[in-house]
């Protein structure tokens, strides 16, 4: 028996066990039978193409399993045949809503191996752009959240205000979605004239947007009824599954890599707060993200006032060869902890890059979290866990 046959057998066995579990809980009087519900791959709640197979007993989920791989692009293999500067254009596309934030940990890992540190000015600008991509990413999440429950208005607000942030990112980097702006040793360019004043105005707008979403969604009775107490993930489970970002903080773990690590970035130059929530339910996860967006606008505002002068590129060779070694760098990205394990052999390109993306771990808790919930809650739990398909499949 080949390995493939054996595994296919396993899959059938698993499906069989699930169906048995569903059948054993049937109501004998009503003579109901379990059914399998297929959600996706094309479903608005999946932010891409994720398929969820759920085995139902009436309205309740007995067993659910996400099926990934509809967007697998093989970045870990592709990175092995590219040079270090070329890799940033790949990793840009992992989490496409906050793409600048994907470049930063990879560049930091390469800089760590080379022993180069970016000048203070570019560290500041990096942090500002990092937080702008967080705002762009999470504001879309906040708008999208309403759509999952049938509220159409917030998504228009979100798209309107995200546009301002994307314009800022475009103004500084030239790319709305895929900036590819970060370089080993600094940044490609300095900020354009007038950008700082404009950014401050936009941050004000974004704070108003947060208040509007707060009013429209978080104070809404229907929203609370569908979010509170639903999809509770306790602290221990969250840690075991390696949840990160707002999902972990919503389970009461005081954890933020921006604060807890010493990276050559400028987060420690600003005064801000890490929000946690003790409940661990869908509402907590969304609420922490809303607070995080507010904090991000504060970080950007403070850093804009204190950008130091000086060069934006450190002295690096024209052709970048990274010395032999291994490095792990992770940052607190909009979706959670994103890290790169870079192994170098002293060549033009990396020997191996392990991409630890946040959504992969965040989604691996889904079979656990979806067990026993009602069908309409599948969508809200998935929405509150917040994943992006490119970030799961890489």
């Amino acid at each position: 028996m080949s390995l493939t046959d054996r595994l296919l057998g396993d899959r059938q066995r698993l499906a069989y066990i699930a169906s048995q579990a569903a059948d054993s809980r049937l109501n004998v009087e009503l003579e109901t039978e379990g059914m399998t519900l297929n959600i996706g791959p094309q479903h608005p709640a999946t932010h891409g193409t994720l398929r969820i197979i759920a085995r139902l007993d009436g309205e309740q989920v007995v067993w659910a399993e996400p099926s990934c791989g509809y967007m697998h692009r093989g970045y870990e293999k592709l990175a092995e045949v590219r040079t270090y500067p070329q890799v940033t254009s790949l990793v840009n596309r992992i989490d496409w809503l906050g793409s600048f934030a994907n470049e930063v940990p990879f560049i930091l890992a390469a800089e760590k191996l080379m022993g180069v540190e970016a000048p203070a000015r570019s560290q500041h600008i990096r942090t500002i752009l990092f937080e702008l991509s967080r705002i762009a990413n999470v504001s879309l999440f906040l708008g999208d959240l309403g759509v999952q429950m049938g509220a159409i208005t917030p998504v228009f607000f979100a798209f309107r205000d995200r546009e301002y942030v994307l314009n800022l990112i475009e103004g500084a980097t030239g790319g709305r979605f895929h900036p590819n702006f970060d370089r080993i040793g600094g940044l490609k360019d300095d900020l354009p004239k007038g950008w700082i004043a404009e950014t401050k105005a936009v941050m004000k707008k974004l704070r108003t947007f947060c208040d509007q979403i707060d009013d429209l969604l978080f104070g809404n009775e229907i929203f609370q009824a569908r979010m509170r107490g639903i999809g509770v993930i306790p602290r221990d489970v969250a840690l075991q599954y390696g949840l990160s970002g707002a999902n972990l903080r919503a389970s009461g773990v005081d954890w933020d890599l921006r604060r807890d690590q010493s990276l050559p970035m400028a987060w420690d130059k600003a005064d801000w707060k890490v929000w946690t929530h003790p409940d661990g339910d869908s509402f907590a996860r969304c609420w922490v993200r809303l607070q995080e967006t507010r904090e991000s606008t504060k970080i950007v505002d403070q850093l804009l006032d204190t950008i130091p002068s000086g060069p934006i590129m450190a002295k690096v060779p024209k052709i970048i060869k990274v010395p032999e070694g291994e490095a792990w760098v992770s940052t607190e990205n909009p979706l959670g902890e994103m890290g790169y394990y870079v192994v170098s052999r002293g060549e033009l390109g990396p020997f191996r890059v392990k991409i630890r993306s946040a959504s992969f771990n965040n989604m691996s808790v889904a079979p656990w979290a979806l067990r026993g919930v009602y069908v309409p809650d599948i969508v809200t739990i998935l929405a509150s866990l917040y994943f992006i398909l490119g970030d799961i499949d890489r």
Binding site: R11, D236, V253, V316, P317, A327, W328, K354, M363
Partner: protein, 226 residues
């Protein structure tokens, strides 16, 4: 509209964000403490800005249990593998009209050493002290298999599935080693170094056709400081 924080306006937060529940957990302070706790299960260690440990293959699971229960590494970050054999295809930039050059495929391990071609490595963190360790383990060359960690860290489930698919390493005791990304009848293990990147094999990389010398540079080796 005046800015009002949510918790003041609606009083939705039942209690203040708690941070005290974690204080009872064990803390680790030094690399020496970790090394002492693992004892003879540890083969090698390397300490730079991170801590790399290499444990015995038969002690993979038990050492992870020790790390979790005694030293408080409750947070599971990731698990993956490395194939230490350099690729016989290089960077996929060979001229298809020329005979394939012979490349050095000597296996050379990284930090904390290694005796086999492939190694599994995983990172766990202490959520209180924010100290992380990278644990490596050798896997057998002919029959790569390892104990599954899914009952120590539930999150290892998907990571082991991915590693099995990409490197062909079997995890004993894993409940469901199906492929995550590729079709089930896919042959080969894509992240092994002897698996060619087919896109580069079919169509050569455009860079090999017209290599321009850098302005003022000349050959590739003269990587002078700018």
């Amino acid at each position: 509209m005046p800015v009002q924080p949510l918790n003041e306006k609606e009083n939705l937060l039942s209690s203040a964000p708690e941070q005290s529940a974690t204080s009872t957990q064990p803390r680790i302070t030094s690399a020496a403490e970790v090394i002492a706790a693992l004892g003879d299960r540890l083969v090698d260690s390397f300490h730079k800005d991170d801590l790399w440990l290499r444990v015995r293959t038969d002690a993979w699971k038990s050492s992870r249990r020790t790390l979790r229960d005694t030293l408080g590494f409750h947070y599971f970050c990731f698990l993956s593998a490395i194939d230490w054999m350099p690729s016989p295809f290089g960077r996929g930039e060979d001229d298809p009209t020329e005979p394939t050059p012979v490349r050095d495929t000597t296996i050379r391990s990284g930090y904390a050493g290694g005796d086999t071609r492939m190694q599994v490595f995983a990172r766990v963190m202490n959520p209180v002290t924010h100290v992380g360790v990278i644990v490596k383990v050798d896997v057998d060359d002919t029959h790569p298999s390892l104990e599954s960690l899914h009952d120590v860290y539930a999150g290892a489930n998907w990571h082991e599935r991915e590693t099995h698919e990409m490197f062909g390493i079997t995890f004993d005791g894993h409940p469901d080693l199906r492929n995550m990304y590729l079709p089930m009848d896919f042959e080969g293990h894509p992240l092994r170094k002897d698996f060619p990147l087919l896109a580069r094999m079919i169509k050569p990389w455009p860079g090999i056709v017209d290599v321009e010398p850098l302005p003022g540079g000349g050959a590739e080796e003269s990587a002078d400081e700018s």
